[in-house]
Symmetry: C2
DNA sequence: GAATTTATCTTAGATGCTAAGGAAATCGCA
DNA sequence: TGCGATTTCCTTAGCATCTAAGATAAATTC
């Protein structure tokens, strides 16, 4: 049992389509960040904090992830803290470090902004079979891993 | 005939994976832009100019696409022009307008920066069947359209 | 326990954005 | 046609955020 017919696509077609999606998504991220009173970099860092779940990340982790200097991270955490998105406290185990943890309610605030957009994407997925969704999801996961490896490599010569 | 087995994924799993990919890609775009001596917004605008092919776009088109003010676009075009990425000339048909066109060789310069990363993605695609690539490509195209519609709607109240 | 390394913060300066407004070209309607 | 309204881009002032360089304090090494 197959899904609907689609026109054939080469990898380079796929990459072009992806570039377009990324480009549009960057603009979208800017808007989401603005709606939350944050900068785009702030939002990327907060996503990383959320990913840590009930745990926490350090300021240095955020600098590495967002590819910004530690000086910039100080400002980022200041804004996230002032906005009630994260808490900052010194790590008792290593008092040079700063533990940044998500404020539980903040995830909902971000979700409220992403929600309407995510709903549109979910609607798009109704046109796809579970198998197809699995393929797409798998690709996202691998591509993100590829991108992260590439970023780490190409900036540590 | 099926591709390899994949773990099942719900739409919300897919969206989470996508969010992660987007987040990483934003950082990647920052790096690419830096390698070209541009800002991320400059690069997004130049992508839009490239998309126009042998044609051209106006300054206002770029402002709408990148969601920045027309004042910012003046600076963006200045940098792209100074960097040899685009030409700027008044539109003879409507002399208020400015025609922004890509310098032919500039596409290659950008490609040189994206190339190594695209090669990694192409490598990833070798693990997918043509049918699967078609599904993924199709999804990218539709998602980009969804995102653009959403952006246009949510910023024109 | 002194020297080195690590992690964060501070400061000064540069960059890129917005908001507001101006100038020139076009449109639209009497 | 003529003249006000609109569109398009540019300019300016001010603000937010980044980098680079260096300071500070804590941990690690030998």
């Amino acid at each position: 049992m197959e899904g609907k017919q689609r026109t054939a696509a080469s990898p380079s077609d796929a990459i072009s389509a992806l570039d377009d999606l990324i480009s549009t998504s960057v603009v979208g991220q800017q808007e989401f960040a603005r709606n939350l009173g944050l900068s785009m970099t702030d939002l990327i860092c907060f996503a990383h904090v959320l990913e840590a779940g009930d745990s926490w990340v350090t300021a240095g982790d955020l600098a590495a992830r967002a590819h910004v200097t530690t000086g910039a991270v100080t400002g980022i955490i200041n804004r996230l803290e002032r906005g009630g998105f994260v808490t900052r406290e010194p790590d008792p185990a290593d008092r040079r470090r700063v533990r940044v943890a998500a404020v539980p309610a903040a995830a909902d605030r971000v979700q409220a902004v992403y929600g309407p957009y995510h709903a549109r994407l979910a609607e798009l997925f109704t046109q796809y079979t579970p198998d197809e969704i699995a393929i797409v999801t798998d690709w996202f996961t691998r591509a993100a891993a590829v991108a992260r490896v590439y970023l780490d490599e190409s900036c540590a010569p």
